[in-house]
Subunit: 364 residues, 2 copies
DNA sequence: CTGAAAGCGCTAACAA
DNA sequence: TTGTTAGCGCTTTCAG
């Protein structure tokens, strides 16, 4: 069955193609209501659907946007970014081209060129975790960076505010009355996420702020997996009673899940004996723990929306700077007050911090 | 900076646009090697990139394919399907339009029409879990269904072979020497995945085949979550010694993770006291358990590839039937022989099944 | 209020 | 071996 063209509609309605185009595109014009009606009826009757290809050629806009990513399709929560971007696109009548480069620079370059050849109206360059990315040479200057920062800056980008997230997490613990708070960190060295340093800074800031002298032994490292978290947490639990932390801030939920194992192995209970807070809010991990894990959520969906909104020019006035998006604390059941026999003398000071943690978003 | 057109290249090379088109598209033709070289140089010099929009209009093929899905972007492992489809597309110089409808029929219909207007060369309709889907009216007849079966059949589709997967899982257990094997199933009623019934059938088949009379109490149900799995498994563990199963086949990995909890709560060890096998191979769950969970993998990546290959006509000769794709057993550490004090007398028979389980894909 | 016609950038008959 | 030219289906001046 051959494609039905605008001329078919024109013929059916007994008017010119101009008229059809005018009414179907709602161009403010002086087409009589009667003709308008006739054209619409004819279009419906013959089952007309305009060719966006022809329209794209004529108007030089295709109503499509390209989304290039290293692995957006294969990482669990990054799909949320896609969904956010996708929703905004749809709300605005755009279709999105998705290209997953699996991190291959050659593929990436080819993809960007292919997208440019398609005359996409905008491009978004996404990473699956917060990091600094080299800017592909062929990438248009107005592309927006999603969940990554362009090397050298000077481009619009959106990333999670991991510093504020670290602050929020530790404040949550302080507010519950904890003073001996440990940070179960990722391993130093290359491959270390910048988020790890940002969250660490937040951790230190809150402790200093609360007048708590952090014991260096409370800062432990492990691989970013359940096993790594378990081993790192175990070091903490092995400390003698006077130094053993009552609360753990884990770099991510996988490590937190490992910490659960270490805690359980020693016959301790969460949150009765020890409180744990994670990061990422990975549904399959955090919500399924026993007890469910309190954590800090990565705002993937919102970042996806933001990126698409600025890419389409819906959200204006954004400077060429990096936008930091808030990471909210998701309260579940893994944080409680410290055991009665420790730190009682500081309860008063702790409650001041409770007040504080109720403030609005931490500044910065 | 204005777009550079083919005529610009022609001018720069001192030839006609035809010549440029011919050499740049490698059309077997009698263009002299010298001219060819000159054209290529000119194209590179002016930075020419052909407009796929114009080409699409002219050739009536756009080298794009549309992928409609209910929630492909937001479910963890379904991203693998996208990756598979994506890879095949890229290998063939196609770009894929992704549309996530969040299950909204109106959005879905609009998306299909938009894709048709874009003149995509093919369409794939994907679901995020194996089920029967109503066929959208506007969907082209040659669209291929991914991870779902079209209501009424008669379309090309690919789904996991959940029956064979169930068989493989239970054979794995039988091969290890188990006879008291339970199935931790999803709850009956609406919303029950068809995979649950298929796997159940596989379970029954293998037991019957092995001459094991299944105790009806070994078939328990629970919500498809860790909590549901824990509660269901606990019913099994509460059975008296003579009937308590030594191995659990869980409908999915989440439920298996719950079973771990139940086992641990009773002070039992995996796989020493009880063996567990899951389904799905959700990385974040299965690989991170302690011990790592043996499970059956859903071949998402392969299904994605298959769908794209038939959509593009690369894989030919596929009938209008449903293609079932093998689900391989992923061996980790949660399956071992049953405790020494049970079922010893049957060791011999069990070993026959070991032989059997080494066969190629189970027939059906 | 409506229509004729040009042209978006490209490919492919057909000519030369 | 290369060039001319007619569209692909649509939007949009410009005339009527």
């Amino acid at each position: 069955m051959a494609r039905v063209r605008i001329s078919d509609v024109a013929a059916a309605a007994g008017v010119s193609v101009t008229t059809v185009s005018l009414v179907l595109n709602d161009v403010e014009s002086r087409i009589s209501a009667e003709t308008r009606e006739r054209v619409r009826a004819a279009a419906a009757a013959v089952g007309y659907a305009p060719s966006s290809v022809a329209r794209g050629l004529r108007q030089q806009r295709t109503n499509t946007v390209g989304l290039i990513s290293d692995q957006i399709a294969t990482t669990p929560f990054a799909g949320r970014m896609l969904a956010g971007a996708q929703d905004v696109a749809r709300e605005n009548g755009k279709l999105v081209f998705l290209v997953d480069t699996s991190g291959d620079r050659v593929v990436e370059d080819a993809a960007i060129r292919a997208l440019a050849a398609q005359q996409v109206d905008a491009m978004i360059y996404a990473a699956m975790w917060h990091r600094v990315v080299p800017v592909p040479e062929s990438l248009p200057a107005d592309a927006v960076f999603l969940d990554c920062r362009p090397e050298g800056g000077g481009r619009r980008s959106v990333v999670p505010d991991d510093h504020a997230g670290g602050v929020a997490a530790v404040r949550e613990l302080v507010a519950a009355g904890h003073e001996r708070i440990a940070y179960v960190d990722a391993v130093p060295g290359p491959g270390r996420p910048i988020a790890a340093d940002l969250r660490l800074a937040g951790y230190r800031e809150v402790l200093a702020d609360a007048g708590i002298a952090a014991d260096p032994l409370w800062h432990v490292h492990g691989e970013m997996s359940a096993r790594g978290g378990r081993d790192a947490a175990d070091q903490l639990l092995a400390l003698d009673d006077a130094r053993r932390p009552t609360a753990l801030f884990c770099f991510n939920d996988r490590m937190a899940a490992g910490a659960y194992l270490a805690v359980r192995a020693r016959g301790l209970r969460i949150p009765h004996d020890i409180s744990i807070i994670g990061y990422d809010d990975q549904q399959l991990i955090a919500a399924e723990q026993d007890p469910p894990l309190t954590t800090v959520a990565l705002p993937h969906y919102e970042m996806g929306r933001w990126a698409m909104e600025v890419a389409l020019g819906i959200r204006v006035g954004e400077t060429d700077a990096t936008h930091q998006m808030e990471c909210p604390v998701i309260r579940r059941d893994s944080v409680g007050p410290p055991p009665a026999h420790v730190g009682k003398q500081n309860r008063r000071r702790a409650s001041q911090h409770t007040e504080r943690s109720r403030d609005a978003t931490p500044e910065r």
